[in-house]
C-alpha cells in the first residue's frame, strides 16, 4: 500500500498545503503591504534623476534648493522603504518558518502513524526527505523565490506605470523588446529544470557508489573487490561532474540574455526618444529616467528561470509531503473513543481471520484460535506459512481483511493504542537500537524507569554479568543502529527493553536467533514470567521452544493446520510431524 497523494493542480496543491499551516496566513496581508512599500523604493532613483534634470537644471543653471529638497525627500523615502523591507522580512521568516515547522512535525508524526505495510513500501530515504529536503525546498521558495515573484511583479508594475506616465511610446518599445524574452523564459526554465533533474539523479548515483565503499567496507576487503567499487565511484563522480557543468553552461548562456535585451531596449530608447524629444513628446529628464527604469526589468528577468525552477520544486515538495498527509493511516488509533483496558492476564481470540496484501494472494485464511491467559504458545511453520502475518495481526501492526482479533473480548480496532501497546509488545528479529547508551535503549521500553530498575531487569534476565563486562557497562554507547554491538548483543538489549516495558503479552519473533543457547534458555525462562501471569507467544526457530510450549500452533500455506501440545502433535500424522523430523535430523545427524 503505497502513499496515496491526491491528484491536484499546482495551485490547488499550494492552497491545500497552506491551509494545513494557519501560522502562514496570520498577518499575511500586513506582510504583503510592507512588500509593496519596499518595492516602491526601487523607482525613487529614476524619479529623482528625472526631477533633477527636468526641473532642477532646466536652462543650464541648476536650481540647487529645489534639487536639495527633492533629494532630501527621496532620501527619507529610501529609508522608509528600507524599514518596510526589514519588517516584511522578519514577518515573512517568522510566519513561514513557524508554519513549515508545523508541517514538518505533522508529516513526521503521520509517517509513524502509517501502517507498517505503507512504511515498508517506501524507501526509508524517500520518507526522510519528505520531512526534511521537501520542506526545506518549500521554505527556500517562500523566503526567496515566492518573495521574488511578488517583488519582481511589483517592480515591473511600478516601473511600467511610471514609464507610461512619462511616455507611452517608449513604454511600448521597452515591452516589445522584453516580451520575446518573457515568452522564451519558461522554455529556458524547462531546459534548466531537466538539467538539474539529471544533476540530482547523478548526485544520487554518486552518493550510492560512495556509500558502498563505506558501508560495504568489510565485504569489499574480504573479496578484494576494491577495483570494482573504485570504478563505480569514478564513473559516477565523473558523470555527476559532467551533469553539473552542463547545467552551469545552460545558466551561463541564459543569464546574460537579459543584459543584451536591456541594451537593445536602451539603444531603442535613445534612438526613438531623441525623435520624440524633437517633436516635444518627451523631456530630457524623462528620457534619462527611462534609461534607469530599464534596469528595473533586468534583475526580475535574470532570476526568473531560477525562481520558476524553485516554484516548481516547491510545488513538488508540497505534493510529496501532502502525499504523506493525505494517506490515511489504515491502522488507525481510535484515540479518545477507544477502550482503555486494565492490566492483567490477557485473553486473545482470532475469529475467522483472513489477510491478503493489497492485490496479492491471501496469506492467512480462516484462522480461528484462542490463546488463554498465562499460556506459553509457540508458532511454527515454514517460511511463508503465515506465522509472521499472524504475529503482525496480533500486535495490530496490520488489520485483518476479514474476521476480527480480540483481547479480553474487545476488537483490537476499538482499543486505544496507548493501552494496546502497553499490554502487547512484540520483539522483532532485528534488534534495532537507537544511537545512544545501553541504558538509553533499555529505558526506551519504559521511559520512567530508574537506573536501579534497569539494573534489576538486567539481573532478572541474567544479563548483569554481560553488561558489567562491557567497557562502560550501562553507559556503553551502542553506535548508530546499535552497530557497535554484535547481532546477538543487540538482541539482548532489545529483549531487555521489552522486558522493562513489562507487557501482559510478549510476542517474540525469532528474537533470540543470534544469541547463544545457554543465554537464550535463561532469557526465555525470564521472559515468560510464569509467576506474573504473562502470556508468551514465540515464533519458534528451535525445537526446544515448541517442546516447552503449552500449545503449538502449526501454520501451513496460510492456514492454521494443527494445534496442541508438542507431545500430542508429534504423534499425529501431519505437518508438525514432518517439521519435527527435519529438526531432529538437523540436530542429530
Amino acid at each position: 500500500m503505497a502513499l496515496q497523494g491526491v491528484e491536484r493542480t499546482a495551485l490547488a496543491t499550494v492552497r491545500r498545503g497552506l491551509s494545513l499551516t494557519p501560522e502562514f496566513r496570520n498577518g499575511l496581508i500586513g506582510t504583503m503591504a510592507l512588500a509593496v512599500v519596499a518595492t516602491v523604493g526601487k523607482i525613487i532613483v529614476p524619479i529623482a534623476v528625472q526631477q533633477t534634470i527636468d526641473t532642477g537644471i532646466k536652462g543650464g543653471k541648476p536650481d540647487l534648493s529645489y534639487i536639495f529638497g527633492a533629494v532630501a525627500i527621496c532620501a527619507v523615502a529610501v529609508i522608509l522603504t528600507a524599514l518596510a523591507g526589514y519588517l516584511m522580512n522578519v514577518r515573512l521568516y517568522k510566519s513561514t518558518e513557524s508554519s513549515l515547522a508545523t508541517l514538518r512535525v505533522r508529516g513526521f508524526r503521520h509517517v509513524h502513524d502509517l501502517s507498517v505495510l505503507t512504511q515498508n513500501t517506501e524507501r526509508r530515504g524517500a520518507l526522510v526527505s519528505r520531512v526534511t529536503n521537501d520542506v526545506d525546498q518549500i521554505s527556500t521558495f517562500m523566503q526567496w523565490g515566492g518573495l521574488m515573484i511578488i517583488v519582481a511583479l511589483g517592480q515591473l508594475l511600478v516601473a511600467t506605470v511610471l514609464m507610461f506616465i512619462y511616455s507611452w511610446q517608449l513604454t511600448l518599445l521597452v515591452w516589445i523588446c522584453f516580451i520575446p524574452l518573457m515568452i522564451a523564459l519558461p522554455r529556458f526554465q524547462r531546459l534548466l529544470s531537466r538539467a538539474y533533474t539529471i544533476v540530482r539523479e547523478r548526485t544520487g548515483d554518486m552518493l550510492a557508489a560512495v556509500s558502498e565503499s563505506v558501508v560495504g567496507a568489510a565485504v569489499i576487503r574480504a573479496y578484494a573487490a576494491e577495483g570494482r567499487t573504485a570504478e563505480r565511484v569514478d564513473t559516477s563522480v565523473d558523470a555527476n561532474r559532467s551533469a553539473q557543468i552542463r547545467a552551469q553552461t545552460i545558466v551561463g548562456f541564459v543569464f546574460p540574455l537579459t543584459e543584451i535585451v536591456a541594451a537593445l531596449a536602451i539603444a531603442g530608447i535613445v534612438l526613438l526618444g531623441v525623435q520624440l524629444g524633437l517633436s516635444g513628446g518627451i523631456s530630457a529628464g524623462k528620457l534619462v529616467a527611462f534609461l534607469f527604469l530599464v534596469t528595473l526589468f533586468v534583475s526580475p528577468l535574470q532570476i526568473a528561470t531560477e525562481v520558476l525552477n524553485e516554484a516548481q520544486n516547491a510545488v513538488a515538495g508540497w505534493r510529496r509531503i501532502l502525499g504523506v498527509l493525505d494517506t490515511p493511516p489504515d491502522v488507525a488509533d481510535p484515540g479518545e473513543k477507544g477502550a482503555e483496558l486494565p492490566r492483567g492476564p490477557i485473553s486473545v481470540k482470532f475469529e475467522d481471520v483472513h489477510f491478503a496484501y493489497p492485490g496479492g494472494e491471501p496469506v492467512l485464511q480462516e484462522v480461528t484460535v484462542e490463546i488463554p491467559p498465562r499460556s506459553r504458545v509457540a508458532i511454527v511453520g515454514e517460511t511463508g506459512s503465515g506465522k509472521t502475518t499472524f504475529a503482525k495481526l496480533l500486535t495490530r501492526l496490520m488489520d485483518p481483511a476479514a474476521g476480527r482479533v480480540t483481547i479480553d473480548g474487545h476488537d483490537l480496532r476499538e482499543i486505544r493504542f496507548s493501552s494496546l501497546r502497553e499490554r502487547i509488545v512484540m520483539v522483532p528479529q532485528d534488534g534495532f537500537l537507537f544511537d545512544g547508551t545501553l541504558a538509553d535503549n533499555i529505558r526506551y521500553g519504559r521511559p520512567s524507569a530508574t537506573d536501579a530498575e534497569i539494573s534489576l531487569a538486567l539481573t532478572e534476565l541474567g544479563l548483569a554479568d554481560w553488561v558489567d563486562g562491557l567497557p562502560a557497562a550501562l553507559d556503553t554507547p551502542v553506535g548508530q543502529r546499535g552497530e557497535s554491538l554484535s547481532a546477538g548483543e543487540r538482541q539482548l538489549v532489545a529483549l531487555a527493553r521489552a522486558y522493562l516495558a513489562d507487557p501482559d503479552l510478549l510476542l517474540l519473533d525469532e528474537a533470540t536467533s543470534a544469541v547463544d543457547p545457554a543465554t537464550e534458555v535463561r532469557l526465555a525462562r525470564a521472559l515468560e514470567g510464569v509467576t506474573r501471569g504473562r502470556t508468551a507467544v514465540s515464533i519458534a526457530h528451535r525445537l526446544s521452544t515448541a517442546e516447552n510450549a503449552d500449545e503449538v500452533l502449526v501454520f501451513d500455506a496460510g492456514r492454521l493446520v494443527q494445534r496442541g501440545a508438542h507431545a500430542d502433535l508429534v504423534r499425529e500424522e501431519g505437518v508438525y510431524a514432518g517439521l519435527h523430523a527435519s529438526w531432529i535430523s538437523a540436530a542429530h545427524s
Binding site: 522603504t81 570494482r228 543584451i260 535613445v270 522483532p428 547463544d516 525462562r525
Partner: protein
C-alpha cells in the same frame, strides 16, 4: 567550529583557494579574464550611456538637432559594451563552474580511494555518517568559494576601472564613490560575519533533524511495537523547533542587512545628484557626466557584494577542506607482501597466539589453534566472546595486535594483495549486498558464467527464489538488498562465497536467518560438494557443530578448550552448558514446575 571570519581562517581559506588555482591554472585564468572583461565592460556601459546622454540626447533637446552619425555611434557603443559584458558573464559563470566541479570531483575520488585503501580498523574508528559527509558535503563546501571567486576578481577590476573613470570625470563625485563603495563592502562583510555562524548552526540543525528522522523511521517497528510515536514526535519536534528558531535568527540578520545594502547605493545616487548639481552649477561637469556617475552607482551596487560572498564561504570552505584533508592524510594503510600461498587444495590455517583490541578493550587474548587442510572446525562460544572478530582476523580484514595468522604456512601479512581473497572466503554474520543485480552480487567482479552462478545459488539453496524473481539473475536487489528477506540475503551472500570455490571457507553464523530445514540442506550440500575446502564455521546449532571434525570453544576472548564435540562435552563444563542448554532446560523446567506444584500445595 571555525565559523567566524578570523584572520587565521582567512589565511587558511586563501591557501585552499590557492590549491585550486594551482591545480586548474588554465581554466581559472579563462574565468578570471572573462570576469575582468565583465568588470571593465560594466563600467564602459555606464560611460557609453553618459556619452550618449551628453552627445546625442541632451543636444537634441537643447539645440533641436541630431546627427545620425552620433546617434548610431551611441547605439553601437551601448550594444557593443553589452555584448562584450554578456560574453564576460557567460565565460565567468561557465568556467568558474568548471573549476569548482572539477575540484569537487577530484576530492570525492581521492577521498573514496582512501576509504578503499585504508584498513577496516580505520573504518571501525569513524562513524559511517561522518565518512559519507566527508565525501559529499565537505568536498562540496571545500570548493564552494570557487564559484564567486572569479566574479570577485572581476569586481575588483570593475572597482579600479570605475575609480579611475570617476576621478577623471570629477574628483568630487569620485569622493562620494570612495565613501559609498567601501561602506557597502564593509557593511556586507559585517553582514556575512554575523550571518555565517547563524547559517552554520541552521545547517547543522538541518542535518540533526534529518538524522533523527532517519533513525526514527529506521526503527519504526520498535517505535510502533512499543507505542512510542508521541515520544519520537516530541524528540523530532524539539529539534525541528530549534531549526525553526535558528532559521528565524538567520532571517532577522538577512532582513536587517539586505534592505540596508539596497538602500546604501540608492542614497549614494541621491548624494551624487546633490553634489553633481553643485558641480554642474560651478561648471566643473556636464549633465552627461552626472548621468554617467549616477548610472555607474546603480550598476555597481550589486556586484560589489560578491566580495562578501567569497569571504562568507571561506570559513565553511576551511572546515570542509580540513575534514577532507584529514581523510587524505590518514595513514596506517594495510601493507601487503608479495607471496602467493602454496595454492594446494584445500588450504591449511594456523592461528598462533593472536590478540586483538578495539581501542583499549582487548577482545581476544592469545588465541591459538590450527585447522589442517580439508578439515572443518566449529568456533563455539557465548554471545560476545569474540568469535566474529576472530573470523575477521582469519581473512585479514584486520591485523592482530600480537601473534600471527598463517595460511598454508605463510603469515597473512606476507601475502600479496588479493591473494587471500583468491584463497579464502568469509561469509559474515551481517550480510551486505550491493545495489546491483543478483548476478553482480554473486560474481562481485569475478569473471564467472551464468552456469557457475546458478550452481553456487543452488548450493546455497537460493536457486529457487532467484528463479522466481521477476528478472532472475538480472533482478536488482536495491540499496543494501532491501527487496530481499533476511534469509534470502544470507543465501545470496553465501553463493557469493561458494562461486569463488574457496580453499578456505569461513561461515560466521551465516545461516542464522534461514529456516533450520533449509540450513541443514545447505550444510550437507557444502559438505558433499565436489570442491574440497577447509571450513571454519561459527555456530550454536548442534546440526552445524555435528559437521565439524573439531570444536574450538571460546570464552571471553580465550580458547577455553578444543577437541572433538564428544571430548568437550565430556570435560568442558562451559561448553556442555552452552550446547546442551536446550536439553537441560527441559529437565530443569520440569523441576521448577514440580517446585511450584509443591509451593501451591504447601
Amino acid at each position: 567550529m571555525a565559523s567566524k571570519v578570523t584572520s587565521a581562517v582567512m589565511r587558511q581559506g586563501l591557501g585552499v583557494l590557492g590549491v585550486a588555482i594551482r591545480t586548474e591554472k588554465a581554466v581559472f585564468a579563462i574565468a578570471v579574464l572573462a570576469s575582468g572583461l565583465y568588470g571593465g565592460m560594466t563600467v564602459a556601459s555606464a560611460w557609453a550611456l553618459g556619452w550618449a546622454t551628453e552627445n546625442a540626447v541632451l543636444p537634441a533637446f537643447e539645440k533641436g538637432d541630431i546627427t545620425s552619425g552620433v546617434l548610431w555611434s551611441a547605439t553601437l557603443l551601448i550594444m557593443g559594451t553589452a555584448l562584450l559584458k554578456s560574453i564576460g558573464v557567460a565565460g565567468r559563470r561557465i568556467f568558474a563552474g568548471v573549476v569548482q566541479y572539477r575540484m569537487q570531483a577530484r576530492s570525492r575520488r581521492d577521498v573514496t580511494k582512501q576509504y578503499l585503501r585504508l584498513p577496516l580498523s580505520w573504518h571501525h574508528q569513524h562513524p559511517t555518517g561522518q565518512l559519507l559527509s566527508n565525501a559529499s558535503a565537505d568536498a562540496e563546501a571545500a570548493w564552494a568559494p570557487l564559484a564567486p571567486l572569479p566574479m570577485a576578481v572581476g569586481v575588483i577590476v570593475m572597482l579600479i576601472t570605475a575609480a579611475i573613470a570617476m576621478v577623471f570625470t570629477d574628483p568630487a563625485l569620485a569622493l562620494v564613490g570612495f565613501l559609498i563603495f567601501p561602506a557597502i563592502a564593509v557593511l556586507n562583510l559585517i553582514y556575512q560575519r554575523k550571518l555565517s555562524p547563524l547559517a552554520t548552526r541552521a545547517q547543522q540543525l538541518r542535518a540533526e533533524v534529518s538524522e533523527i528522522a532517519h533513525e526514527s523511521f529506521d526503527g519504526a517497528l520498535v517505535v510502533k511495537t512499543l507505542g512510542r510515536e508521541a515520544l519520537e514526535t516530541e524528540r523530532f519536534q524539539r529539534r525541528a523547533h530549534e531549526l525553526r528558531d535558528a532559521n528565524i535568527a538567520v532571517g532577522r540578520v538577512r532582513g536587517l542587512f539586505d534592505p540596508m545594502l539596497e538602500a546604501l547605493p540608492t542614497l549614494g545616487v541621491l548624494i551624487v545628484l546633490a553634489v553633481g548639481a553643485m558641480r554642474l552649477s560651478s561648471g566643473s561637469i556636464n549633465s552627461g557626466e552626472l548621468v554617467q556617475v549616477a548610472y555607474l552607482f546603480t550598476l555597481l551596487s550589486f556586484p560589489i557584494r560578491a566580495l562578501g560572498w567569497v569571504l562568507a564561504e571561506l570559513p565553511r570552505s576551511v572546515v570542509g577542506w580540513t575534514r577532507v584533508q584529514a581523510v587524505l592524510d590518514a595513514s596506517g594503510s594495510m601493507e601487503y607482501g608479495s607471496a602467493e600461498p602454496a595454492g594446494t587444495r584445500p588450504a591449511s590455517l594456523q592461528v598462533d597466539d593472536v590478540s586483538y583490541a578495539y581501542g583499549d578493550s582487548e577482545v581476544l587474548h592469545g588465541v591459538s589453534f590450527d585447522v589442517a587442510a580439508g578439515r572443518t572446525v566449529a568456533l563455539v562460544g557465548p554471545t560476545g566472546s569474540g568469535k566474529s572478530t576472530l573470523t575477521q582476523l582469519l581473512v585479514r580484514l584486520v591485523d592482530p595486535a600480537a601473534g600471527e595468522v598463517r595460511l598454508d604456512g605463510e603469515d597473512l601479512r606476507e601475502l600479496a594483495y588479493g591473494a587471500i581473497a583468491r584463497s579464502a572466503a568469509l561469509v559474515p554474520q551481517q550480510t551486505f549486498l550491493f545495489d546491483d543485480t543478483v548476478r553482480g552480487n554473486v560474481a562481485l567482479g569475478l569473471d564467472v558464467t551464468d552456469e557457475e552462478v546458478w550452481a553456487a545459488l543452488r548450493l546455497a539453496q537460493a536457486d529457487g527464489f532467484v528463479a522466481r524473481l521477476a528478472d532472475g539473475l538480472d533482478t536488482r536487489v536495491g540499496e543494501r538488498g532491501t527487496t530481499l528477506s533476511g534469509g534470502q540475503r544470507q543465501r545470496v551472500a553465501l553463493a557469493r562465497a561458494i562461486v569463488r570455490r574457496p580453499r578456505l571457507l569461513i561461515l560466521d553464523d551465516a545461516t542464522s536467518s534461514v529456516d533450520p530445514q533449509v540450513e541443514a540442506k545447505i550444510l550437507y550440500g557444502l559438505r558433499d560438494s565436489a570442491e574440497s575446502s577447509t571450513t571454519v564455521v561459527v555456530a550454536y546449532r548442534m546440526a552445524t557443530i555435528a559437521l565439524a571434525d573439531e570444536v574450538v570453544f571460546l570464552e571471553r576472548g580465550r580458547v577455553a578448550d578444543r577437541g572433538t564435540h564428544e571430548e568437550l562435552l565430556a570435560r568442558c563444563e562451559g561448553y556442555r552448558n552452552l550446547v546442551t542448554a536446550y536439553e537441560r532446560e527441559e529437565s530443569e523446567r520440569a523441576a521448577i514446575e514440580a517446585d511450584e506444584q509443591e509451593g501451591v500445595s504447601a
